[in-house]
Amino acid sequence: MSTEHPNRADGLDVHEVEDGLVVYHAATDRVHYLNPSASVIFELCNGERTNEEIAELVGAAWGLEASPRDEVAECLERLRTEGVVG
């Protein structure tokens, strides 16, 4: 999977709580706790959107003047490092 079109990893068990997501990755037996921003970014990863498109959608959702490109890229990198996004 291209890192420019991030997608959620297979085999994730996602639980929604009031202020984020709890993601269980059975393959690694690890639990990840995503805050609201990370949760939105994670949900937007569908294998079709680019990093840039995700950043624009996040910016629109939060009513930001400029696209939060760097922040989204940093978050995606962490999600990739943790193995929940490929």
Partner: protein, 260 residues
């Protein structure tokens, strides 16, 4: 449970630690224990199987106590309950789960609230399933310094029975009443050793999950089931972080947010 003991002393020792909690659920099973004299010691049988050989009534009491709780956890797990290491207290009709690592002060806070007349359900294990919670009816285990933290305990402490050297306080036997109920949680309080005087600050539900997952003791359930039950238990719940300190100050900080 049913216990056949070989003498009055052994029977009385076990009777003294049997929880008196009233509870709304039908028993899943009645456990049968037979205690038999064997040479200079005692042999303990659970459902006919030998589970231990001990040297006297106190050790027999401790073993039966441990075995019954362990078996209860297994049976509860088989019918879908997830066990969380936490205390559970009903304050003015609001259900409060108090969580934190061992030794942080859950029991001290629970005893403080019990003495003040709040409906302490348990100080050690809480079962959650389908968005509801019920405490495991284990008497409160009070450490030797309990009376220095909660002075009202001083006259009680010497009279309490002991299990493995720790005083066990059954609220029902001590005149506080002990009626369990199954109900959804309203508040989750995470105890932490934060600097400063005890205070409650609002915390995120993801913070509660981070704190609670390591405090769950899976028996037969998968982590997927465990996380699902915890998520359901947290639905609509207010999460707080309470810094540990002098028990009366902790109580005041807690009541301030729960009764607000």
């Amino acid at each position: 449970m049913r216990v056949n003991a070989p003498d009055e002393r052994t029977a009385a020792g076990i009777e003294a630690i049997a929880p008196t909690a009233g509870q709304p659920m039908k028993p899943l099973r009645t456990m049968h224990y037979d205690i038999e004299i064997n040479g200079h010691g005692l042999v303990i049988l659970e459902q006919g199987d030998v589970v231990g050989r001990v040297d006297g009534p106190e050790a027999a009491r401790d073993l039966v106590y441990i075995r019954t709780h362990r078996r209860a956890f297994e049976l509860a797990s088989l019918v879908g309950w997830v066990r969380v290491h936490a205390a559970l207290v009903d304050i003015g009709g609001r259900r409060v789960l108090v969580a934190g690592p061992s030794g942080v002060g859950k029991t001290t806070l629970a005893v403080r609230l019990l003495v003040d007349g709040h409906a302490v359900q348990g100080d050690e294990s809480v079962l959650v399933r389908a968005g509801t919670a019920i405490a495991v009816p284990r008497p409160l285990h009070v450490e030797a310094d309990g009376a220095s933290l909660v002075p009202e305990l001083a006259p009680l402490l010497p009279r309490l029975p002991r299990v493995e050297g720790t005083a066990v306080l059954d609220p029902g036997r001590c005149g506080f009443g002990w009626q369990l109920r199954e109900a959804p949680l309203d508040h989750v309080v995470l105890l932490g050793r934060d600097p400063g005087a005890p205070s409650c600050r609002r915390a995120a539900q993801t913070e509660a999950m981070t704190a609670l997952v390591p405090e769950v003791f899976p028996v037969t359930e998968t982590k997927r089931v465990l996380l699902g039950e915890l998520t359901a238990a947290l639905a609509g719940v207010a999460v707080w972080r309470l810094s540990v300190g002098e028990p009366a100050a902790m109580r005041a900080a807690l009541l301030d947010v729960v009764e607000r």
